[in-house]
Amino acid sequence: MLGDSRAVAHEAIRAFVRDDRARVLAALVKRCGFEIAEESLDAAIESAVRQWPDEGVPDVPSAWVMAVARRRAVDALRHRAMSASARATVRTLRDEREADVLASLEDEAFGDDRLRLFFTCCHPAIAPDTRVALALRWLSGLSTDDVARAFCVAPSTMAQRLTRAKSKIETAGIPYEIPEKSELRERLGSVLEVLYAIFNEGYVATTGPSLQRIDLADEAVRLAEVLCALVEEHPDALSLLALLLLVHARRDARTSPDGEMIALDEQARDRWDHAMISRAKSLLARSLRAGPPSTYAIEAAIQALHDEAPSYAETDFAQIAALYGLLRAKTDAPIVALNEAVARSMVDGPAEGLRAVRALERVEGLEGHHALFAAKADLLRRLGRSKEARSAYDAAIAATRNEAERRFLARRRDRL
């Protein structure tokens, strides 16, 4: 019986962290600032871990946590130097009627607090890596240790990075606000970049043994869904969500049961999530109707063409190459030119493709990049130039940090 209630309590706490932590954090930040909000929320969750197994899970867990966290915040503020503004904060926290707090938790406007949290932790004045870390900590509710693991750094290093970021937000006065309309697109761009970075880290973990980290990709998709609803389906947010879903739909086919990577040309297409694909395509169509396409919309259109093709050979590579050309005109990412060359080789043949890839070899950002070696190896293989292909695969393997990707390249090499 006790084991049961323990399990129920732990599941309730997990659910709170996953679904409600960001909401409650956002509401607390509005009342007492980041440092105290996070400190008191963590303390309240610790109380839940201690009390819920014995006392049972409260009817509305988020209200319980909010009430405890508010009391903690009052205590914490009292222990600090009491400035006039701190005293005012204490009064607000202490005197606010329970019913009003509850109402604000339920309130629709409440979504605004969480949206503020998105914009604050993805603010351009925070270093790009740190934005990703803050988003995982505050929006996804990952523990500091989990965030450290995602970045392959020591927990103490990550804890210090997060503390400094919080201190910068408070001291430098990074606003806890939704940007004005004139700035929304640019600032939203920074939020979308963070979500895309989280997804890409989940899609191909830069280091470590397994190819995908589904949990991070899932998390990015979940946050993109939340964001989309919060910004009332802004076309850029819709496009990113569509892009993530169109790639995420292939997750089960991308790895074999023993965790080995399967490339697009060898994936079992019936294992793709076709319901997810058709939903993503309608999201993309909605975003395209709203205005000129963002880079995410173009990338999504490319992924949609892959997802629509009955087989690799029947893919509309001419259209894909044209879309990469469009993308290249909008971004300066050299990897886009490489992708364009590869797609073009499916139309013009491997000899032409090899010429195009060779022309990119000295481009900054691609020089020594494993994707460039891998593309070259593949084109040489298609041309039947096995010996050169072998050494290109070797170079690609040496430049790849992900172990599953290395094993995949080695298998292709050994098949020559």
Partner: protein, 272 residues
């Protein structure tokens, strides 16, 4: 704070032989971060005493203590596009932590005041003349300015970094045009009540740096650090939040050719 500007402007007209200097305090901020609360309070008290002594002479213009460099943001504008980056203009072993501006009759008098700054014991004080032109706009319409305060605004220091060789090699007409832009900028932030203080600095070849080694004064020619772009001036402003401070920074001409570092000013009212 506008009063500070009024005071030194008025005095300058009477005593034209007096030069203005800025004393830039460079010290390892990790020292302060790793100190106990008691040690931290002792440092603040030492600065409080020094500040009181300096202002009692009627020769001090303006001063500020800065928040550490991890709270800094760098702003550049290129081809009309603004680029905002986390962090200070340059990563150095010791960091700019604050400054005083003073009137002095000679560089030696300025050095004597620099030597007494608590930070000279473990850091370096750069002593640099302030350019004679004066960056402060006429304070005549002070009464019409909106009253800004700590309740709604924060203080930021905008540090202007530029390649000073470009300035030296300009014709007088070109220099005049840039000064015109600075005067216009200063006027615009004075009109909104956001201007607190601001000065253009003389080139680093006129700088001297002082530190204390076992209480013995060590003076050398040149700035605290040799960098490709140099601190050429500053503005101290009120802004609602970092976004507003960054927007102000992006309007400074130096943002188009160099970098403007935005640093929150420490609230030292508790130690005053």
């Amino acid at each position: 704070m506008g009063g500070v500007v009024v005071r030194h402007r008025g005095r300058k007209e009477q005593r034209t032989h007096v030069m203005q200097y800025v004393l830039l305090i460079y010290a390892a901020e990790s020292r302060f971060a790793n100190s106990t609360p008691a040690e931290g309070a002792a440092v603040m008290e030492a600065y409080g005493t020094y500040t009181k002594d300096l202002f009692a002479t009627g020769r001090a213009g303006d001063c500020a203590a800065l928040e550490p460099t991890h709270t800094a943001t760098s702003v550049r504008v290129r081809e009309g596009k603004r680029a905002v980056k986390d962090g200070p203009f340059a990563e150095t072993r010791e960091q700019l932590g604050g400054y005083y501006t003073i009137d002095a009759e000679s560089a030696d008098e300025a050095l004597a005041w620099a030597e007494k700054i608590p930070g000279a014991k473990h850091g370096t004080i750069e002593v640099r003349p302030i350019m004679a032109v004066g960056g402060a706009p006429a304070p005549a319409d002070a009464s019409k300015r909106p009253a800004l305060s700590k309740d709604t605004h924060k203080e930021y220091l905008l540090l202007l970094y530029e390649d000073e060789r470009a300035w030296v090699s300009m014709s007088e007409a070109e220099q005049g045009a840039i000064f015109g832009r600075y005067m216009e900028f200063s006027k615009s932030i004075t009109a909104t009540g956001q201007f607190i203080a601001g000065e253009p600095l003389a080139p680093t070849m006129q700088a001297r740096s002082i530190s204390l080694d076992e209480n013995k004064r060590v003076v050398r020619d040149g700035p605290f650090a040799e960098t490709r772009e140099q601190l050429g001036g500053y503005y101290r402003v009120w802004a609602k939040n970092l976004d507003e401070a960054v927007a102000i920074a992006a309007k400074i001409p130096a943002a188009e050719t160099g970098t403007v570092e935005v640093r929150p000013v420490m609230d030292t009212s508790a130690y005053a």
